[in-house]
């Protein structure tokens, strides 16, 4: 579903090019659960952002669902966000002015989904993540782990085919982190959702079935996780 060919990314500073990514070529298939690992500053977030079309590569081609998306206009890109991609962030990035319910509802509104369908999907998600009682609270009234649950629920609301998560458990304690990781695993195995996550934790990486090791912008290792 994702085909990266010779992706490069550099920032030119006073004529000096500093490379963040070099010759990244890889394929990610539907239903995979990929963890991107590597030292700080290696370019993990940059790679994920490129996959999420938040940043453009300076060189190389990127095909998403068989379509070249290297240079895509804003409207088309947003269509992909609406229908295929869900984001989960390390800092949760819930909208502070919206309640839990409204945060989960927002992407459905942009997707123009009817109100009854909306209500049933949200009820379903609240139920599944065990946060029905919190639905009228604002993000600052929740714990970090709860906020991340809402963040994932929001990413799932639009029923995406892929979830991109940048250190989703980076701000959480290990017990909460395990809960989130189990959830990801379940989504991957039961719902067939493709998941790409950036993580520092070896343990988290083992929840997936493939690990990309990155150092200095280069893919050093691409290993299958054997359960």
């Amino acid at each position: 579903m994702i085909q990266l060919n010779n992706i490069e990314k550099y920032y030119a500073n006073k004529g000096v090019k500093s490379y963040i990514l070099r010759h990244v070529t890889t394929t990610i298939k539907q239903g995979e659960f990929v963890s991107i690992m590597g030292p700080s500053g290696a370019g993990k977030s940059t790679l994920l952002n490129i996959i999420g079309m938040l940043e453009e590569p300076t060189y190389g081609t990127y095909e998403f669902l068989g379509e070249d998306v290297t240079t895509l206009n804003e409207r088309k890109r947003i269509e992909l966000y609406r229908n295929h991609i869900g984001f989960v962030f390390q800092a949760y990035h819930l909208i502070d002015e919206m309640t839990v319910y409204e945060n989960i509802e927002a992407p459905l509104l942009y997707k123009k989904i009817g109100s009854s369908e909306r209500a049933s999907r949200i009820a379903d998600l609240l139920d599944r993540f065990n946060i029905v009682a919190k639905k009228d609270l604002f993000p600052n009234q929740l714990s970090g782990g709860q906020q991340q649950l809402v963040g994932i629920a929001r990413a799932l609301a639009a029923q995406p085919s892929i979830i991109l998560a940048d250190e989703p458990t980076g701000n959480l304690q290990s017990a909460q982190a395990d809960e989130i990781m189990n959830l990801f695993k379940k989504l991957n195995q039961e719902d067939g959702i493709t998941i790409i996550q950036v993580t520092h934790s070896e343990k988290n990486a083992t929840y997936g079935n493939r690990i990309l090791h990155i150092a200095d912008g280069v893919v050093k290792d691409d290993v299958k996780v054997i359960v």
Binding site: L54, Y81, R82, H93
Partner: protein
């Protein structure tokens, strides 16, 4: 979707309710000012607009080398009508030249202006009596109409609209007139009157020397006005030549031309007159608009300042699938809500202020009228301010790149600081210009109040009177001497005189000749004691004196300006010729400011005898201050004997009050400017207050860190103030030249004015800097006083 956005908007506004209140309140105040100005503008620019002929009516004016006027000879009306087919109809009007008292038994009515109109003029100018416009015919020479209120005064019990008999003048005058009905005088028109005297034809016996009428033309549609103007000038010169009673030379005739002035110009910028009212109106509109802009800038600035908070929302919404246009719309909606609330508040405010405004401008505006233009203007204003205040922040906010925002360390402060600071500087520029303007207007008005005007109008009583005291005798005028003798017997009256014009009013203009140099100069027909009554200073020679027999025959006194105009050396004893008389100059007086400070003192001649003169009816008395009340009471009691023609109708005004009216316009302007300056400063400071609050809130963490690193409170105050301080300084430097040019232009409208002072420029700098430092420091204090640990705890 809309409901959710609305909810978020309200939650957001509530969370920042302090700033929101300041924003909305400031905008409401500015809008109220703007609404008032808009209403006033609409009112002032729509005089006579209800006239169905509005677009096709022109007045025929005459342009002489020295001046322009709308007074013209009546016969010319016929000549125009007969010559030019593109003129559909021609009408004549003549303003009442003196005050008329009208009586019914004990009920007395004082009228200032009975307008004489011919039938055509009434039709052209849409002057409609209540029972319909009819052409006087047969026996009836004139049809007279009085306003409803006047009829009520004369006939308190009258219910119908039937004709009534009234008496004109004093009860012993024996003149009776039939009033045919009532008429409503439209206050929103150039033609306001106490009554109408309607004739089939007017000025039939006038000749081309009697410029007493105004001619109004109704043109057929699509007439080339410039072309017609030229043709009418030719016709006028031709007619003057044909009827050349005043023996004008061809060169003199060539210098005379006519012009056509549209009805729409008449109220604000008549060609025969000045366009000050128009300029004042424009200035006022600009002020109103600037105040609104300043309030809108507050919005823009605070919205951009809040951008960092909203950035995350934008980023997240975008990756959830929101189009940029949807986000733009959302932000515009938020600003629209605030503007809407501000508009409602503004209407309430405007309603509260309206009585004062009406009083100041002598108008009767009201907001709640069904046919008011506000009904379409308000929604327009609302959309406009929403766009002005909202479009930029909406574009900026919706344009955030999600990748940057979501990385976490996003900061907007750098990005848009030039714009934010620019807008802030702009606001302060306007405020500084206003402060300087205000201070300079103040100094000029103070100068005008304290300056010697060259005569003394205090304790001078001006009595309105119908008896003519002309010399030579005109329409049964009488000598003033017996009247003066009786007046001087009343204790307290120090001197008495009569003249054709009083200081503060317009003088007559006529042609006079000295040593073969001819010029049109002002003339005033006076009597003995004129200069003494007004305390005018003599430069050389003498005043008129009873003991000189020739003074009532051919003596003249001229002012310094006249001496300069004709460049006469040793004027006393020389001859000045006018109206067929060789006057001998017996004295020269120092110039005195009859026309206030705006126009330069005109060259003027004062004579007792003048065959071409105007009605000498304006009696002036100098009365001792402590005997004023007694003297006035005695005057009122004795008036029927002193002046039988006016009989029991003794009316007077104090000359200093009349003269003071010349300054009224300037004082009006000052009040407006004062209000405008205060408003701009207030709104700008409100904006600054909110802005500083926002900025310091954003820097609380930085301040905490600095304090931990050992910065003192003073250092932190300095740190926060410095950028604002620099901006105010820049604003001052930018505004000085602007204020300099504007105030210089304004001062140039005065013939007598102060030199441009430097003090206001310094003061404005001090005022703005002080206000800024205080405002910012109030905000900074909170941040400085906060415990650094609290600030750093949350991350």
């Amino acid at each position: 979707m809309f409901r959710l956005n609305l909810k978020i908007a309200l939650r957001n506004l509530w969370r920042n309710r302090g700033i929101t209140a300041i924003n909305v309140g400031g905008l409401a105040i500015a809008l109220a000012a703007f609404i008032l100005v808009t209403m006033y503008f609409t009112y002032e620019t729509s005089f006579d607009k209800s006239n169905p002929n509005y677009k096709n009516v022109y007045v025929v004016g005459v342009s002489y080398p020295e001046f322009k006027t709308n007074y013209i000879a009546a016969p010319f009306a016929k000549a125009i009508k007969q010559t030019y087919p593109e003129v559909e109809s021609v009408g004549l009007i003549k303003e009442g030249s003196f005050e008329l008292t009208i009586k019914n038994g004990k009920n007395t009515l004082f009228t200032k202006n009975i307008l004489a109109v011919d039938y055509n003029a009434a039709k052209i100018l849409n002057i409609q009596p209540e029972n319909g416009l009819t052409k006087p015919s047969g026996e009836v020479e004139r049809l007279n109409y009085l306003s409803k209120e006047s009829m009520q005064t004369l006939f308190p019990d009258k219910k119908d609209n039937k004709p009534e008999m009234v008496g004109y003048g004093a009860s012993n005058s024996g003149i009776t007139v039939v009033v045919a009905g009532s008429i409503r005088s439209n206050e929103h028109s150039n033609f306001v009157f106490d009554g109408i005297s309607l004739a089939a034809e007017l000025g039939e016996h006038d000749n081309y020397d009697m410029n007493d009428y105004s001619i109004f033309l109704k043109l057929k549609p699509n007439v080339n006005v410039a072309n017609l103007e030229k043709k009418i000038t030719d016709l006028y010169r031709y007619e003057l030549l044909k009827n050349n009673t005043s023996k004008k030379s061809t060169a003199e005739l060539k210098a005379i031309s006519t012009f056509l002035d549209p009805l729409s110009n008449l109220h604000l910028r008549p060609k025969a007159g000045n366009d000050m009212p128009y300029k004042t109106l424009i200035a006022l509109s600009v002020l109103g608009f600037l105040i609104l802009v300043i309030a809108c800038i507050n919005f823009t600035n605070l919205s951009i300042a809040q951008a960092a908070n909203r950035a995350k929302e934008v980023g997240v919404k975008k990756v959830m699938g929101a189009y940029r246009s949807q986000l733009t719309l959302q932000f515009l909606t938020e600003i629209f809500i605030q503007c809407f609330v501000a508009t409602i508040l503004a209407l309430i405010l405007a309603e509260l202020v309206l009585p004062y405004f009406n009083n100041l401008f002598q108008v009767g505006l009201s907001i709640w009228q069904v046919d008011s233009d506000l009904i379409w203007q308000l929604p327009l204003i609302l959309s406009l301010i929403t766009l002005i205040a909202g479009i930029y922040p909406a574009m900026v906010l919706s344009g955030f790149k999600p990748a940057l925002v979501l990385k976490g360390n996003f900061s907007t402060s750098k990005q848009n600081s030039w714009l934010r600071n620019g807008l802030l500087v702009f606001q302060f520029c306007i405020a500084v210009v206003f402060i300087i303007g205000l201070l300079i207007i103040n100094s000029q008005l103070k100068y005008m109040r304290s300056q010697d005007v060259g005569f003394n109008s205090s304790q001078v009583v001006y009595i309105k009177n119908l008896t003519l005291f002309n010399n030579p005798v005109k329409f049964g005028s009488v000598s003033f001497n017996p009247v003066r003798d009786r007046l001087l017997k009343i204790p307290g009256i120090k001197s008495a005189t009569v003249a054709s014009f009083i200081p503060g009013g317009q003088n007559g203009i006529n042609s006079y000749e000295v040593n073969a140099s001819k010029a049109n100069i002002d003339f005033v027909n006076v009597d003995f004691d004129y200069f003494e009554t007004l305390d005018i200073k003599l430069k050389e020679g003498r005043f008129f004196l009873n003991t000189f027999k020739t003074d009532t025959i051919n003596s003249a006194i001229i002012n310094e300006s006249a001496v300069a105009k004709y460049s006469i050396k040793n004027p006393v004893g020389q001859t000045i010729r006018g109206c067929g008389i060789d006057y001998k100059i017996v004295g020269v007086i120092k110039d005195f400011k009859t026309q206030g400070f705006e126009s330069i003192v005109q060259p003027t001649i004062y004579t007792i005898k003048d065959p071409c003169g105007s009605y000498k009816t304006q009696i002036l008395l100098k009365i001792e201050e402590n005997k004023m009340a007694d003297a006035l009471a005695a005057l009122k009691a004795q008036w029927p004997q002193i002046n039988p023609k006016d009989g029991e109708d003794f009316r007077y005004e104090f000359l200093d009050e009349l003269y003071g009216k010349l300054f009224k316009k300037q004082e009006q302007l000052q009040s407006v400017f004062f209000a405008a300056a205060l408003l701009t400063i207030f709104i700008a400071i409100l904006g600054l207050f909110a802005f500083a609050k926002y900025i310091t809130n954003g820097r609380i963490k930085e301040i905490a860190v600095r304090k931990i690193l050992g910065a003192s409170d003073v250092q932190i105050f300095k740190l926060i103030n410095s950028s604002f301080f620099i901006m105010v300084l820049i604003a001052n430097v930018i505004s000085w030249p602007i204020a300099y040019i504007l105030t210089k232009k304004w001062l140039e409208t005065f013939a007598y004015r102060i030199d441009l002072p430097a003090m206001p420029f310094v003061s404005s700098a001090l005022i703005t800097i002080l206000l800024t430092v205080i405002t910012v420091s109030i905000q900074a204090k909170k941040a400085v006083k906060a415990n650094p640990v609290d600030a750093l705890k949350y991350e």
